[in-house]
Symmetry: C2
Protein backbone atom coordinates (compact mmCIF):
# COMPACT_ATOMS: atom_id res chain seq x y z
CA UNK A 1 0.00 0.00 0.00
CA UNK A 2 1.52 3.27 -1.10
CA UNK A 3 -0.45 5.57 1.21
CA UNK A 4 -2.56 4.95 4.29
CA UNK A 5 -6.28 4.45 3.66
CA UNK A 6 -7.25 7.61 5.54
CA UNK A 7 -5.03 9.69 3.26
CA UNK A 8 -6.50 8.47 -0.02
CA UNK A 9 -7.84 11.44 -2.06
CA UNK A 10 -11.53 11.95 -1.39
CA UNK A 11 -11.61 10.17 1.97
CA UNK A 12 -13.10 12.36 4.71
CA UNK A 13 -13.26 11.81 8.47
CA UNK A 14 -16.49 10.48 9.96
CA UNK A 15 -19.19 13.08 10.63
CA UNK A 16 -21.55 13.29 13.61
CA UNK A 17 -24.52 13.36 11.23
CA UNK A 18 -23.75 9.92 9.80
CA UNK A 19 -23.26 8.20 13.16
CA UNK A 20 -25.19 4.97 13.36
CA UNK A 21 -25.65 4.54 9.61
CA UNK A 22 -25.57 0.85 8.62
CA UNK A 23 -25.12 -0.66 5.15
CA UNK A 24 -28.15 -2.92 5.42
CA UNK A 25 -28.89 -4.64 2.12
CA UNK A 26 -28.36 -5.05 -1.60
CA UNK A 27 -31.34 -5.60 -3.87
CA UNK A 28 -31.30 -7.86 -6.92
CA UNK A 29 -34.30 -8.78 -9.01
CA UNK A 30 -34.96 -12.53 -9.18
CA UNK A 31 -36.99 -14.21 -11.92
CA UNK A 32 -38.11 -17.26 -9.92
CA UNK A 33 -38.06 -16.85 -6.12
CA UNK A 34 -38.50 -20.57 -5.45
CA UNK A 35 -35.29 -21.33 -7.34
CA UNK A 36 -33.34 -18.38 -5.88
CA UNK A 37 -34.49 -19.06 -2.31
CA UNK A 38 -33.41 -22.69 -2.60
CA UNK A 39 -30.04 -21.54 -3.93
CA UNK A 40 -29.30 -18.93 -1.25
CA UNK A 41 -30.68 -20.94 1.69
CA UNK A 42 -29.26 -24.33 0.76
CA UNK A 43 -25.99 -23.49 -0.99
CA UNK A 44 -25.04 -20.22 0.77
CA UNK A 45 -26.60 -20.95 4.16
CA UNK A 46 -28.79 -17.85 4.34
CA UNK A 47 -32.06 -17.65 6.27
CA UNK A 48 -35.19 -15.99 4.94
CA UNK A 49 -35.42 -13.18 7.48
CA UNK A 50 -38.58 -11.61 6.09
CA UNK A 51 -41.00 -11.82 3.17
CA UNK A 52 -43.03 -8.72 2.36
CA UNK A 53 -45.89 -8.81 -0.14
CA UNK A 54 -47.11 -5.73 -2.00
CA UNK A 55 -50.28 -6.93 -3.77
CA UNK A 56 -51.22 -3.47 -5.04
CA UNK A 57 -47.90 -3.21 -6.89
CA UNK A 58 -47.71 -6.94 -7.68
CA UNK A 59 -44.34 -7.72 -6.17
CA UNK A 60 -42.83 -9.54 -3.21
CA UNK A 61 -39.57 -8.77 -1.41
CA UNK A 62 -37.48 -11.54 0.15
CA UNK A 63 -34.80 -10.56 2.67
CA UNK A 64 -32.04 -13.10 3.35
CA UNK A 65 -29.26 -13.03 5.94
CA UNK A 66 -26.99 -15.21 8.03
CA UNK A 67 -28.73 -14.72 11.39
CA UNK A 68 -28.83 -17.45 14.02
CA UNK A 69 -32.26 -19.00 14.53
CA UNK A 70 -32.79 -17.59 18.03
CA UNK A 71 -31.99 -13.98 17.20
CA UNK A 72 -34.79 -13.38 14.67
CA UNK A 73 -37.96 -12.02 16.36
CA UNK A 74 -41.20 -13.98 15.85
CA UNK A 75 -43.50 -10.95 15.77
CA UNK A 76 -43.99 -9.64 12.22
CA UNK A 77 -43.35 -5.93 12.87
CA UNK A 78 -40.37 -6.63 15.12
CA UNK A 79 -39.04 -9.01 12.52
CA UNK A 80 -39.27 -6.39 9.78
CA UNK A 81 -37.52 -3.77 11.94
CA UNK A 82 -34.86 -6.36 12.85
CA UNK A 83 -34.31 -7.19 9.17
CA UNK A 84 -33.74 -3.53 8.29
CA UNK A 85 -31.26 -3.15 11.19
CA UNK A 86 -28.82 -5.86 10.16
CA UNK A 87 -25.70 -5.80 8.03
CA UNK A 88 -25.17 -8.25 5.18
CA UNK A 89 -28.76 -8.67 3.99
CA UNK A 90 -29.64 -9.69 0.42
CA UNK A 91 -33.00 -8.51 -0.87
CA UNK A 92 -34.54 -10.36 -3.80
CA UNK A 93 -37.40 -8.62 -5.62
CA UNK A 94 -39.92 -10.83 -7.38
CA UNK A 95 -42.23 -9.13 -9.83
CA UNK A 96 -45.20 -11.47 -9.91
CA UNK A 97 -45.32 -13.67 -12.98
CA UNK A 98 -41.72 -13.14 -14.07
CA UNK A 99 -41.02 -16.85 -13.62
CA UNK A 100 -43.56 -17.58 -16.36
CA UNK A 101 -42.26 -15.05 -18.87
CA UNK A 102 -40.06 -16.88 -21.40
CA UNK A 103 -38.65 -13.57 -22.64
CA UNK A 104 -37.50 -12.32 -19.25
CA UNK A 105 -33.95 -12.58 -17.98
CA UNK A 106 -32.09 -10.17 -15.75
CA UNK A 107 -28.93 -8.25 -16.60
CA UNK A 108 -25.81 -9.17 -14.61
CA UNK A 109 -24.15 -5.74 -14.87
CA UNK A 110 -20.90 -7.14 -16.28
CA UNK A 111 -21.98 -7.40 -19.89
CA UNK A 112 -22.68 -3.99 -21.43
CA UNK A 113 -24.09 -1.72 -20.13
CA UNK A 114 -21.87 -2.17 -17.07
CA UNK A 115 -22.56 -1.04 -13.52
CA UNK A 116 -23.14 -3.46 -10.64
CA UNK A 117 -20.49 -6.17 -10.63
CA UNK A 118 -21.06 -8.89 -8.06
CA UNK A 119 -21.84 -9.87 -4.50
CA UNK A 120 -19.21 -11.70 -2.43
CA UNK A 121 -19.33 -14.31 0.30
CA UNK A 122 -16.49 -15.14 2.67
CA UNK A 123 -16.20 -18.84 3.53
CA UNK A 124 -14.11 -20.67 6.13
CA UNK A 125 -12.65 -23.19 3.64
CA UNK A 126 -12.47 -22.33 -0.06
CA UNK A 127 -11.59 -25.84 -1.26
CA UNK A 128 -14.51 -27.32 0.68
CA UNK A 129 -16.78 -24.61 -0.73
CA UNK A 130 -15.73 -25.53 -4.29
CA UNK A 131 -16.64 -29.16 -3.63
CA UNK A 132 -19.97 -28.06 -2.12
CA UNK A 133 -20.75 -25.95 -5.19
CA UNK A 134 -19.93 -28.90 -7.45
CA UNK A 135 -22.16 -31.17 -5.35
CA UNK A 136 -25.00 -28.69 -5.94
CA UNK A 137 -24.34 -28.21 -9.66
CA UNK A 138 -23.50 -24.53 -9.20
CA UNK A 139 -22.15 -22.91 -12.34
CA UNK A 140 -18.56 -21.69 -12.04
CA UNK A 141 -17.25 -18.63 -13.81
CA UNK A 142 -13.76 -19.03 -12.34
CA UNK A 143 -12.28 -21.65 -10.04
CA UNK A 144 -9.66 -20.86 -7.37
CA UNK A 145 -6.77 -22.12 -9.52
CA UNK A 146 -7.80 -20.30 -12.70
CA UNK A 147 -7.18 -16.76 -13.98
CA UNK A 148 -5.07 -13.93 -12.64
CA UNK A 149 -6.44 -13.90 -9.11
CA UNK A 150 -5.50 -17.07 -7.25
CA UNK A 151 -7.82 -18.24 -4.48
CA UNK A 152 -10.70 -16.15 -5.75
CA UNK A 153 -13.74 -18.09 -6.96
CA UNK A 154 -16.64 -16.77 -9.02
CA UNK A 155 -19.90 -18.64 -9.43
CA UNK A 156 -23.26 -17.61 -10.86
CA UNK A 157 -26.59 -17.43 -9.09
CA UNK A 158 -29.80 -18.70 -10.78
CA UNK A 159 -30.32 -15.35 -12.55
CA UNK A 160 -26.72 -15.21 -13.72
CA UNK A 161 -25.52 -12.62 -11.18
CA UNK A 162 -21.85 -13.12 -10.32
CA UNK A 163 -20.96 -14.26 -6.82
CA UNK A 164 -17.36 -13.96 -5.66
CA UNK A 165 -16.25 -16.42 -2.99
CA UNK A 166 -13.12 -15.91 -0.89
CA UNK A 167 -11.45 -17.37 2.17
CA UNK A 168 -10.20 -14.20 3.90
CA UNK A 169 -6.85 -15.57 5.10
CA UNK A 170 -6.05 -16.82 1.58
CA UNK A 171 -6.82 -13.40 0.08
CA UNK A 172 -4.69 -11.43 2.53
CA UNK A 173 -1.98 -10.89 -0.09
CA UNK A 174 -4.24 -9.68 -2.90
CA UNK A 175 -3.29 -6.49 -4.73
CA UNK A 176 -0.51 -3.98 -4.14
Amino acid sequence: MSIAEDQVPGVEPATAESQGFVFNHTMLRAKDPKVSLAFYTRVFGMRLLRKLDFPEMQFTLYFLGHAEAGEVPEDDAERTAYTFSQKGVLELTHNWGSENDPELSYHDGNAEPQGFGHICFAVPDLAAAERWFDANDVEFKKRANEGKMPNVVFVKDPDGYWIEVVQPALSAGLGD
Copy 2:
Protein backbone atom coordinates in the same frame (compact mmCIF):
# COMPACT_ATOMS: atom_id res chain seq x y z
CA MET B 1 -47.67 -12.59 6.66
CA SER B 2 -49.63 -15.50 5.26
CA ILE B 3 -47.10 -18.23 6.02
CA ALA B 4 -44.02 -18.40 8.22
CA GLU B 5 -40.74 -17.55 6.52
CA ASP B 6 -39.33 -21.06 6.96
CA GLN B 7 -42.31 -22.51 5.07
CA VAL B 8 -42.00 -20.31 1.99
CA PRO B 9 -41.60 -22.48 -1.16
CA GLY B 10 -37.92 -22.96 -1.97
CA VAL B 11 -36.59 -22.24 1.53
CA GLU B 12 -34.40 -25.05 2.83
CA PRO B 13 -32.93 -25.60 6.29
CA ALA B 14 -29.32 -24.60 6.91
CA THR B 15 -26.69 -27.13 5.84
CA ALA B 16 -23.47 -28.08 7.61
CA GLU B 17 -21.51 -27.30 4.45
CA SER B 18 -22.53 -23.63 4.45
CA GLN B 19 -21.75 -23.00 8.12
CA GLY B 20 -19.70 -19.86 8.58
CA PHE B 21 -20.55 -18.34 5.18
CA VAL B 22 -20.75 -14.53 5.39
CA PHE B 23 -22.28 -12.10 2.88
CA ASN B 24 -19.23 -9.86 2.75
CA HIS B 25 -19.58 -7.22 0.04
CA THR B 26 -21.33 -5.78 -2.98
CA MET B 27 -19.28 -4.44 -5.87
CA LEU B 28 -20.24 -1.39 -7.92
CA ARG B 29 -18.09 0.25 -10.57
CA ALA B 30 -17.34 3.93 -9.86
CA LYS B 31 -16.28 6.43 -12.50
CA ASP B 32 -14.37 8.82 -10.21
CA PRO B 33 -13.16 7.33 -6.92
CA LYS B 34 -12.32 10.69 -5.39
CA VAL B 35 -15.93 11.82 -5.76
CA SER B 36 -17.41 8.48 -4.65
CA LEU B 37 -15.08 8.14 -1.66
CA ALA B 38 -16.00 11.65 -0.50
CA PHE B 39 -19.68 10.75 -0.86
CA TYR B 40 -19.59 7.44 1.03
CA THR B 41 -17.19 8.58 3.77
CA ARG B 42 -18.67 12.01 4.42
CA VAL B 43 -22.38 11.54 3.72
CA PHE B 44 -22.83 7.86 4.65
CA GLY B 45 -20.18 7.66 7.37
CA MET B 46 -18.22 4.76 5.88
CA ARG B 47 -14.51 4.16 6.43
CA LEU B 48 -12.11 3.15 3.70
CA LEU B 49 -11.16 -0.28 5.07
CA ARG B 50 -8.77 -1.20 2.28
CA LYS B 51 -7.48 -0.02 -1.08
CA LEU B 52 -6.01 -2.64 -3.39
CA ASP B 53 -4.19 -1.69 -6.59
CA PHE B 54 -3.83 -4.03 -9.56
CA PRO B 55 -1.41 -2.20 -11.89
CA GLU B 56 -1.15 -5.10 -14.33
CA MET B 57 -4.89 -4.99 -14.92
CA GLN B 58 -5.15 -1.20 -14.48
CA PHE B 59 -7.75 -1.06 -11.76
CA THR B 60 -8.07 -0.25 -8.07
CA LEU B 61 -10.54 -1.68 -5.57
CA TYR B 62 -11.82 0.40 -2.66
CA PHE B 63 -13.53 -1.41 0.22
CA LEU B 64 -15.75 0.67 2.51
CA GLY B 65 -17.49 -0.29 5.75
CA HIS B 66 -18.78 1.06 9.05
CA ALA B 67 -16.04 -0.31 11.30
CA GLU B 68 -14.89 1.53 14.40
CA ALA B 69 -11.41 3.03 14.12
CA GLY B 70 -9.80 0.72 16.66
CA GLU B 71 -11.01 -2.53 15.16
CA VAL B 72 -9.29 -2.21 11.76
CA PRO B 73 -5.81 -3.82 11.80
CA GLU B 74 -2.84 -1.64 10.80
CA ASP B 75 -0.88 -4.40 9.07
CA ASP B 76 -1.69 -4.58 5.35
CA ALA B 77 -2.26 -8.33 5.07
CA GLU B 78 -4.25 -8.49 8.30
CA ARG B 79 -6.27 -5.52 7.13
CA THR B 80 -7.12 -7.23 3.84
CA ALA B 81 -8.17 -10.45 5.61
CA TYR B 82 -10.21 -8.38 8.08
CA THR B 83 -11.94 -6.55 5.23
CA PHE B 84 -12.96 -9.82 3.57
CA SER B 85 -14.31 -11.15 6.89
CA GLN B 86 -16.82 -8.38 7.60
CA LYS B 87 -20.49 -7.99 6.74
CA GLY B 88 -21.83 -4.84 5.09
CA VAL B 89 -18.84 -3.92 2.92
CA LEU B 90 -19.19 -1.86 -0.26
CA GLU B 91 -16.54 -2.44 -2.92
CA LEU B 92 -16.00 0.27 -5.53
CA THR B 93 -14.04 -0.72 -8.63
CA HIS B 94 -12.15 2.04 -10.42
CA ASN B 95 -10.92 1.24 -13.91
CA TRP B 96 -8.04 3.66 -14.31
CA GLY B 97 -8.85 6.64 -16.46
CA SER B 98 -12.64 6.26 -16.35
CA GLU B 99 -12.95 9.66 -14.64
CA ASN B 100 -11.46 11.28 -17.74
CA ASP B 101 -13.69 9.52 -20.28
CA PRO B 102 -16.52 11.89 -21.23
CA GLU B 103 -18.43 9.01 -22.84
CA LEU B 104 -18.42 6.78 -19.78
CA SER B 105 -21.30 6.46 -17.35
CA TYR B 106 -22.40 3.42 -15.42
CA HIS B 107 -25.75 1.66 -15.65
CA ASP B 108 -27.96 1.80 -12.55
CA GLY B 109 -29.77 -1.48 -13.20
CA ASN B 110 -33.23 0.09 -12.95
CA ALA B 111 -33.44 1.44 -16.45
CA GLU B 112 -33.50 -1.33 -19.08
CA PRO B 113 -31.85 -3.80 -19.05
CA GLN B 114 -32.86 -4.38 -15.43
CA GLY B 115 -31.05 -6.46 -12.81
CA PHE B 116 -29.39 -4.95 -9.74
CA GLY B 117 -31.75 -2.49 -8.03
CA HIS B 118 -30.18 -0.61 -5.15
CA ILE B 119 -28.19 -0.68 -1.95
CA CYS B 120 -29.84 0.34 1.32
CA PHE B 121 -28.66 2.04 4.49
CA ALA B 122 -30.47 2.01 7.83
CA VAL B 123 -30.26 5.27 9.76
CA PRO B 124 -31.24 6.17 13.33
CA ASP B 125 -33.33 9.23 12.33
CA LEU B 126 -34.80 9.46 8.83
CA ALA B 127 -35.86 13.12 9.08
CA ALA B 128 -32.38 14.12 10.25
CA ALA B 129 -30.86 12.05 7.43
CA GLU B 130 -33.01 13.92 4.86
CA ARG B 131 -31.74 17.24 6.20
CA TRP B 132 -28.17 15.92 6.09
CA PHE B 133 -28.59 14.83 2.46
CA ASP B 134 -29.98 18.27 1.59
CA ALA B 135 -27.06 19.96 3.36
CA ASN B 136 -24.72 17.90 1.15
CA ASP B 137 -26.65 18.48 -2.09
CA VAL B 138 -27.47 14.79 -2.47
CA GLU B 139 -29.90 14.08 -5.29
CA PHE B 140 -33.21 12.65 -4.14
CA LYS B 141 -35.20 10.16 -6.15
CA LYS B 142 -37.95 9.93 -3.54
CA ARG B 143 -38.44 11.68 -0.22
CA ALA B 144 -40.02 10.01 2.84
CA ASN B 145 -43.39 11.68 2.27
CA GLU B 146 -43.60 10.92 -1.47
CA GLY B 147 -44.80 7.88 -3.40
CA LYS B 148 -46.48 4.67 -2.32
CA MET B 149 -43.99 3.69 0.37
CA PRO B 150 -44.06 6.13 3.27
CA ASN B 151 -40.89 6.58 5.30
CA VAL B 152 -38.73 5.10 2.56
CA VAL B 153 -36.19 7.47 1.00
CA PHE B 154 -34.24 6.95 -2.21
CA VAL B 155 -31.22 9.04 -3.15
CA LYS B 156 -28.62 8.65 -5.87
CA ASP B 157 -24.90 8.14 -5.48
CA PRO B 158 -22.40 10.01 -7.72
CA ASP B 159 -22.70 7.34 -10.45
CA GLY B 160 -26.49 7.37 -10.31
CA TYR B 161 -26.87 4.10 -8.37
CA TRP B 162 -30.00 4.14 -6.21
CA ILE B 163 -29.57 4.15 -2.45
CA GLU B 164 -32.57 3.33 -0.26
CA VAL B 165 -32.55 4.86 3.21
CA VAL B 166 -34.81 3.60 6.02
CA GLN B 167 -35.26 4.01 9.75
CA PRO B 168 -35.99 0.41 10.81
CA ALA B 169 -38.66 1.21 13.41
CA LEU B 170 -40.56 3.38 10.91
CA SER B 171 -40.51 0.58 8.31
CA ALA B 172 -41.78 -2.13 10.67
CA GLY B 173 -45.24 -2.02 9.10
CA LEU B 174 -44.14 -2.24 5.45
CA GLY B 175 -45.83 -4.81 3.22
CA ASP B 176 -48.39 -7.52 3.97
